[in-house]
C-alpha cells in the first residue's frame, strides 16, 4: 500500500470512528427522547393541565369496562413507545460500536422523524393548542429530537459507506 493510500485509509478509519460516535450519541439521545415523549403527556395529566379521559375522548363514557380497557391500552401504548425508542437507540449504539451490522432501525427512525415533523404545525396553530412557556420548551425539545434522528440517519449512511470503503481496501 503506497503512502497516499495509507493516509486515505487512516482518514477513513478516523471518519468511521467519528460517525460511529455520532451514532452512539444519537442512539442515547433517542432513548432519552422516548422517555421524554411519554413523560410529557404524563406530566400534563399529573398537573391537571389535561384530563386523562378527555384526552382519550372518554369524558362522556359511562361504561367502566371501556374506560378500563382504554386505560390499559394507553399504558401498553406508552410502554410500546418507550420500548420502540429503546430498540432503535440501542440498535444505533450497537451499529456505531461495530457490534451490529443491520440498519433495520432506520425504518423506525425515519418514521419517528416524519411523525414529529408532521406534528409541528400544532405548535404554531393557536386554535389547536394553548401556547405558553411549556409549549415553547416542548417545541424546542422536539426540534432537538428531530436533529438527533436526522443525525442518526445521516451517520448511518456515512458509516456504512466508510466501512464499505475500508473493506474494499
Amino acid at each position: 500500500m503506497n503512502n497516499k493510500a495509507a493516509i486515505t485509509r487512516t482518514e477513513l478509519e478516523q471518519r468511521e470512528r467519528k460517525y460511529g460516535n455520532s451514532l452512539v450519541v444519537s442512539g442515547i439521545a433517542v432513548i432519552f427522547f422516548g422517555f421524554w415523549s411519554v413523560l410529557k403527556i404524563i406530566e400534563e395529566i399529573a398537573i391537571g393541565k389535561v384530563d386523562f379521559f378527555e384526552m382519550l375522548d372518554l369524558a362522556d363514557e359511562e361504561d367502566m369496562g371501556i374506560r378500563v380497557f382504554m386505560t390499559v391500552f394507553f399504558v401498553l401504548l406508552t410502554l410500546a413507545v418507550i420500548f420502540l425508542h429503546y430498540r432503535v437507540g440501542r440498535a444505533a449504539i450497537l451499529v456505531g460500536r461495530g457490534k451490529k451490522k443491520k440498519f433495520f432501525y432506520l425504518l423506525f427512525a425515519i418514521s419517528f422523524l416524519l411523525l414529529t415533523v408532521v406534528s409541528f404545525p400544532t405548535y404554531i396553530n393557536p386554535e389547536v393548542v394553548d401556547q405558553d412557556d411549556v409549549t415553547i420548551a416542548a417545541f424546542f425539545v422536539d426540534v432537538a429530537y428531530c436533529l438527533a434522528l436526522l443525525d442518526m440517519v445521516v451517520s448511518s449512511f456515512l458509516i456504512s459507506r466508510a466501512r464499505k470503503q475500508l473493506r474494499e481496501g
Binding site: 478516523q14 470512528r17 467519528k18
Partner: protein
Amino acid sequence: MQQDFHYYATYAAAYLAGYSHEECMDICYSAEFVDHCSATLLAKIEGPEDAATTQLQLELMDSPMDILGIMEMTRIWSAFHFLPYDLYAEKKWATKIYKNKYRLICKPNGALLAETVNLAKGKSLQAVGLAMHVLADTWAHSYFAGTPSQVINNVNYYFYELVPEGDGFIEREIRFRHKKSTPDDIENGLYSNTLHRGIENSVMNLGHGRAGHFPDYSFARYKYLPAWDNYKVVLKDNPKDYMKAFTQMVYAMKYLRGEYTSFELDRYDTEAVEPYESRIKEILEKRQLDGCADWKEFCQELSGETIEDFDLEKYQDEYLLAPKPQKGYAFLGKFIEAAYSQKHMVTDRIYKSGNRLAGISLDIKGKKL
C-alpha cells in the same frame, strides 16, 4: 505513576546516577511525597497550605468549581503531575478558551521539563526528588491535562488493552465502572474510573480520572481516542515509556550531580541501565496492580542496602516541632521550598503564555517558611 515507580524506581535511578544510599533515600522519599503533600497534611504540620503538591479526593470534592477553584486545581496538577508539553501549541479552528486547555496537555520532553530539571540544579535533594516525580509523570500521564476539562480529558467506549499473547498481542476492550470499593480486575479488563458528568469543568474530568488508574500501571499497553485528537487513535506502551522515564531520570540525575554541563531533552542513559534492562523490563511488564515488592527487591540487590518502606509521617514531627526560623532547614521545609519554586515556575510560564487557567503567577521572592 504510583509508589512502585515514584519511590523505588526513583531510588534505583538515583543509585545508578551515582548518589549514595542515604541521598537516594532522600530523593525517592521526596519523589513519592509529591503524591501526598496535600493542603490537609500541610495544615496538620502547620505548614503553608499553598505549597500543596496534590489534592486529596475529599479536597477535590470540596473544591469550589468556580474560576478560582479551577485555577488552584490547574496550578497544582499542571505543575506537579501533568507538566504541559507546549504552551504555544496551535489547533485549527480552536477558540482561545479551548486552546488554553489544549496547551496544557502533558507529554514528555517539553520545554518545561528542561526548566523543571534545571530548577533543581544546585538545590536540595528534595528538589531533585520533586523534579524526578514531575519527569516520571510526563511519561505516564501523556495526552491528559492537569485541568478539569471534558473536551480534553474525556475518554469513551473505544478503549482497548493490548494483552500479550504468544508473540503478539490481543485487543481486549476495557470496561470502566465507578466502583472504588473493589480493586481493578486485571484479568477481566475491569477498571474503576470517575463518573461521567456532562459538565465541561467537572472535577471528574481532571487529569486521567476518566481512564481511572489504568494509565499508571506499568504493564499497560492500550489504545484509545483522546477527546482532543479528532478521533485519531493514540497508542500507549507503558513498559516502553516507563523504561524511557527510568533512563531519562538516570541521565537527569547525573546532570544534577554535575556529570554533564547541560540537560538535553530526549536523552536517555541507556548505557548505565543496560546491565539491568531485562530485570527492569520484567518488573514493568508484570501484570500486577502494585510492583513495590519487585522494585524493592531489585533496589536492595542493586545497592546492597535495606530500603525502608515509605512512611508518610517520617519527617512530620521534625517540621512541626522545629522553631519557625528553622523550619526551612527541616526535610519537609526543603521540600516545601522546592514545591514553591516548581509551582511558581510553571504558573508563571502558563501565565506568560497568555493563558489564565492557572491564574496569575505567584511571586515567592522573600517568602519566609
